[in-house]
């Protein structure tokens, strides 16, 4: 078991290194001089040259590659080309918002999705199941930003229940910031719910036709015990893997949600960096996003090994 865990962790390292390399290369093939882009077209040649020197852009590429890698490992992402603010500080300010949003969305997705999936699987082919399937297909097709706009229209414009814009103050007033979390988290959570429902339903249907479920039933166990202890346990594996997959999708979709709700976060920072052509911020954010996904995939694998020890061998 422990060997499996260690092997998984070690496998993640080369992927992270390659992600870093890819981002490093991509940012350097962006046309135009980043220093020039930062200072604008009318900057003097000396100013551009000074900035290039300060950013380390005049160093040979391998030196830049190593310097930046070690700086990143220390948690030092340099400073923004546009505002001059430390990128590490900016990231440590926005990251809690993105984490809060993603965690809340996953929570909603699992808490609503798994029971709904169980419920529709047990009511197979009747009206409940049918409605559930239509709703989940619509959920799969709606873009996150559009659902966000609809929720704003209903819960912020028509009924003034929740604030539509902003993220509150997570550092000073964590409880108060929950009010701002409701609509964005619902946007992402509901989309994830539909997918989890669909998967739980089909995983349960597969398991329910297994012999051991019939055995459990025939020895007279209560239906509740059969479903929860015998069937759900086996259906859990695909559910865990889809949850892990969805965290990665949600991280992507959170970009749009943060834009729609004008909520501080990594995604909003990313869009800002692209629009302002802030390349040093861009490469840091990219690496963080990918690291996020790699870590989530790692956790998914570890949970897998924990739930089904056969895999670890």
């Amino acid at each position: 078991m422990i060997r499996y865990f260690i092997r998984r962790v070690l496998l993640a390292i080369p992927i992270l290194l390659m992600v870093y390399t890819l981002v490093f290369v991509v940012v350097r093939i962006i046309p135009g001089d980043p220093a020039q882009a930062a200072l604008g077209d009318y900057a003097s040649q000396e100013a551009v040259e000074a900035l290039r020197e300060r950013m380390g852009l005049n160093d040979p590429l391998p030196v830049q590659y190593i310097t930046f890698l070690f700086a990143m490992l220390r948690g030092d992402f340099g400073e923004s080309l546009i505002s001059g603010v430390s990128i590490s500080e900016q990231i440590s300010y926005v990251l809690p918002y993105t984490l809060q949003l993603t965690a809340a969305a996953v929570l909603i997705g699992v808490i609503l999705g798994v029971p709904l999936g169980l419920f529709t699987a047990m009511n197979r082919n009747n009206i409940i199941d049918y409605i559930g399937r239509i709703v989940s297909l619509v959920g799969l097709s709606v873009p996150a930003f559009y659902l966000g706009i609809l929720l704003i229209l209903v819960f912020a414009v028509e009924v003034d229940l929740f604030p539509a814009i902003g993220g509150g103050d997570i550092q000073e007033d964590p409880l108060g910031s929950l009010k701002y979390l409701v609509l964005p988290a619902m946007t992402l959570g509901l989309i994830m719910t539909t997918s989890v429902t669909r998967l739980t339903r089909s995983a349960m249907l597969n398991v329910l036709s297994e012999d051991y479920v019939r055995t459990a039933r025939s020895k007279g166990l209560a239906e509740r015990v059969v479903i929860l202890k015998h069937a759900l346990r086996a259906a859990l594996l695909p559910i865990v893997s889809i949850t892990g997959f969805w965290v990665a999708v949600l991280i992507g979709d959170s970009v749009l949600t943060e834009v729609v709700f004008s909520r501080p976060g990594l995604g909003k920072m990313l869009v800002g960096a692209i629009n302002q052509r802030d390349y040093s911020a861009l490469q840091s954010i990219m690496v963080i996003y990918a690291a996020f996904v790699v870590v989530v995939n790692l956790l998914t694998d570890l949970t897998y090994g924990f739930l089904d020890p056969r895999i670890t061998r």
């Binding site: 080369p14 992927i15 992270l16 390659m18 992600v19 890819l22 981002v23 991509v26 093939i29 962006i30 046309p31 297909l137 619509v138 799969l140 097709s141 709606v142 873009p143 996150a144 930003f145 559009y146 706009i149 609809l150 704003i152 229209l153 414009v157 339903r201 089909s202 249907l205 990665a248 999708v249 991280i251 992507g252 979709d253 970009v255 749009l256 834009v259 729609v260 990313l270 869009v271 692209i274 629009n275 861009l282 990219m286 996003y289 990918a290 996904v293 790699v294 995939n297």
Partner: protein, 311 residues
Amino acid sequence: MAEMTQDTVTLEQPAVRLRSQRERLWNTFTRNRTAVFGLLLAILIVLMAVFADDWFIAIFQDREPQPLLAPYDPTKQDPRNRLEEPSEVHRMGLDTLGRDVLSRIIYGARVSLMVGILSVALGGVIGTFLGLFAGYTGGKVEGVIMRSVDVLMAFPSLIMGLMVLAVLGPGIPNMIIAIGIMLSPAFVRIVHSSTLGTKENDYVLAARAIGVSQWRMIRIHILPNILGEAIVLASVYTATAIRIEANLSFIGLGVSPPTPAWGTMIRDGTQYLTIAPWISIFPGLAILITVLAFNLLGDGMRDIMDPKSYS
């Protein structure tokens, strides 16, 4: 069958078997009524995009195309009546510059479908080629390709698209490239694993034994067997591509104005949600319906390939 002579049976057998195979696939598809509904809906949307204006007549008369299905010119502004609510004259109201929202939605289908279909075609061709190459050659090449795919898969797909667009700059062709690159890893993985499976068949061994060339081997013996799966994947991903296009347009990396695109229209409307919600609501519905149509169609295609997954 009993009355048939020995001769007719041997002569007709292959033809009968082929037709019944195709029929069986079609029957599986049509049995899934939601998939047929999706197909019809998708055809309607394609027709709407094609016949938005009379370009197919205008091209021969050497003039600007006139709106055909669309009631108005989608770029004609009427600033005096901007933000006008839906009425008999303008069924879906007017937008921030006084342009007819319904006409812009009908024209906007062109961008969505073009980006959706072309990006899937691009990603599908690249991905199928690389997956086939990796699976067929094996060894170091396979290792390099598959590890690169792992790295690409480490980025959330939308982030990947944003990164590519940051390099290339906004616009339709770049968006097609970005979404194509984004979707290709999935094709590589599927085609790779199904090439590995196909390669093990005895007829491949037999073909190799009689000295068939590499090119012919791939083209005649392997490609036809993996094409089905690639096509199914393409139909599933068309919905995804259309949704991503809407996302990127919404961020502002899509077509430049005044060309109408659904994501861009929603973006324009967000400033006016409280006073003119129709500017955003209707294009969003258009995206929802289109993506739903292609999702239903994709589900049906997947059932054809794998009847087990039908539940």
